[in-house]
Symmetry: none
Subunit: 191 residues, 4 copies
DNA sequence: GATGAATGAGCGTTCATTCAT
DNA sequence: CATGAATGAACGCTCATTCAT
């Protein structure tokens, strides 16, 4: 058995609890308990709860990114890239429901608003693959000439919604339905 | 001057506070203060905070419904009805940002999940105009033959997303952009 | 029995605990317990611990002031007034040891520094009888022509020290010794 | 370069932090950090925080004593010895503000009370120069025949008070003012 | 001796809810 | 009905101390 690194355990426990119970339902003491450490130990690794929450998000991003971009090629036409990335995203969400639920909690909170503001207003930190894709689509005139943020909405809006519905058990997404959904999104953004 | 009914005042104050500060930032004592009543008085009208929150949502729905369905005619073709209702929804959101913010808080919380579960699984309480529209669209073969819930996602996903971005100031929605957005949604759902 | 007003009880309990155990040794929960109220109740009367501590000081001042100034007459010569006030102060301290101990804790803490700064630098709020006395003494040339603050030190330094020693049981102050001490202080400040 | 002995570094760091931030503002971890050692290391040298604090005081005393008694001659008349020692003390305080601030923190805390009790009640450990001076003054009938402890109060009370006011910036002590102050104290104790 | 990660009791504070008036 | 003082469990966080390395 590999050593159960405390930091990893805290991250795992926090993600799990927050995903399932929300920020409310995940007091530091409970996170600590689920991680098998003392309450104070969390503060050895994370300055405070806010920082833990933000770090959790970055950790999640770092894990999801390579999975979602696997096999993604810039040379491929915009439409194919769009379908590729949309499908990969949706699949990632439904195979990693805890990650997805955490993501939702995060994005639907003040943290998420700040994050989105930073992403949109300059701060194009790191390589943002989806932004590039949408910008390509617009400049190649294969996508509608509407603000980037609306293209985001037309893409992530439905994907997040169906992922959530799948995870809540309201619908059963299979390969076929995933393809139909992503293609429908493409119909929305394509010129 | 009509008597400022206490129940109404509580609802108004709670909506305002929760919309602007989230559930966290709206303690009962503060709601009471903003409503001009004593803390205990809230409990004369609402058994507890959960019930107040749910009631608030129903109240909001009841106020929004007639505005959104105004001028809506069943005789009109599906596409026109879709554009009509989508546009009306979006306009309602951006002219009633408090209502929208509350809606988001509500839907993105455990309350919202319960609510959605009730709506989808049976309980087709009252007359659900949007459900009818989508069912019409599918049966008339003008919309894609995919689960209703996916059509919901393709519609509400983007509309809620752009409404939020508008209210947060990330984008400025005008008549033209609203039309483009709703038409893009139509592209997504139409066959 | 007069109703044991909760606010009074909290003040009494806090004064007692802080006087005897210091700020450290007087957690809010313990103050509450000693006052016979719940922990949260304190916050109905005092916004936070800092404010409780400051309020306690003001309360003490308000109670001590009339006792100390009783029979004090502005017409009397400076020397007599000095002996009067010094004696009254010392007597107040040793008959109200809790007040004295609290005062010491307060003055020897950041609160006290702020308080003293406010008193010295302008902010001659309210009628400051001792300041007036010392200023009279200097202007009538019966006291040494040294900065006011040094006259304060020559007066309060010894008085606080002997009061503390008496309360700690290191010495037994009686009428005679009190007079000798205050007269010694007079020797220090007089020209 | 002499090896920066760990014990010395801990003492230095602790004195500095406690002097500047009080006992509150000087957690062991911070003392360790400032001393350039690990948190646990402090416990190799000092059993616990209380013992560190007490040891710190003794260390301070040991450093201050020779400075203050430099040039002090038993053959000199009591008055001159009094002025000498008072002046030396005051100068030491204002040239070593950290030592002074620590001293104040210490004396105004439960530690200080215990210390004073030990000093006064028997335990005339080591050679106490000031006690001797005051006893000489009384027996030679040049000082007032009042309890030793009152003479202490008349001396240290004002000296500590003006030193504090100087360090807090409420007054600017120079050679002249120091002399005036010490002479005023002499007026208080002299017969 | 020296380390520093880990501990967990304890702190100040909040807030949904109750109930005597 | 309406009040608002009172409650107390629960929260995020601190820090003196321990102990395996």
């Amino acid at each position: 058995m590999t050593k159960p690194d405390k930091r990893e355990e805290i991250i795992r426990a926090a993600l799990e609890l927050i995903a399932e119970q929300g920020f409310h339902g995940a007091p530091m003491a409970m996170i600590a308990k689920n991680a098998g450490v003392a309450a104070g130990t969390i503060y050895c690794y994370f300055e405070n709860k806010d920082i833990l929450i933000t770090e959790l998000f970055r950790n999640l991003e770092a894990r999801a990114y390579p999975v979602i971009t696997e096999g993604y090629l810039l040379e491929v036409p915009v439409r194919d890239r769009y379908l590729h990335i949309g499908t990969a995203l949706l699949k990632y969400f439904i195979t990693n429901p805890l990650d997805f639920k955490y993501l939702e909690q995060f994005l639907n909170s003040p943290y998420g608003t700040v994050f989105r503001r930073d992403r949109l207003m300059g701060k194009k930190e790191e390589h943002d693959i989806i932004r590039e894709l949408l910008e390509d689509g617009v400049s190649q005139q294969v996508m509608k000439d509407i603000p980037l943020i609306v293209l985001y909405a037309l893409t992530f809006g439905p994907l997040l919604a169906v992922a959530r519905d799948h995870i809540l058990g309201f619908i059963q997404l299979d390969e076929h339905l995933i393809n139909l959904t992503v293609e429908a999104c493409w119909n929305a953004v394509k010129r």
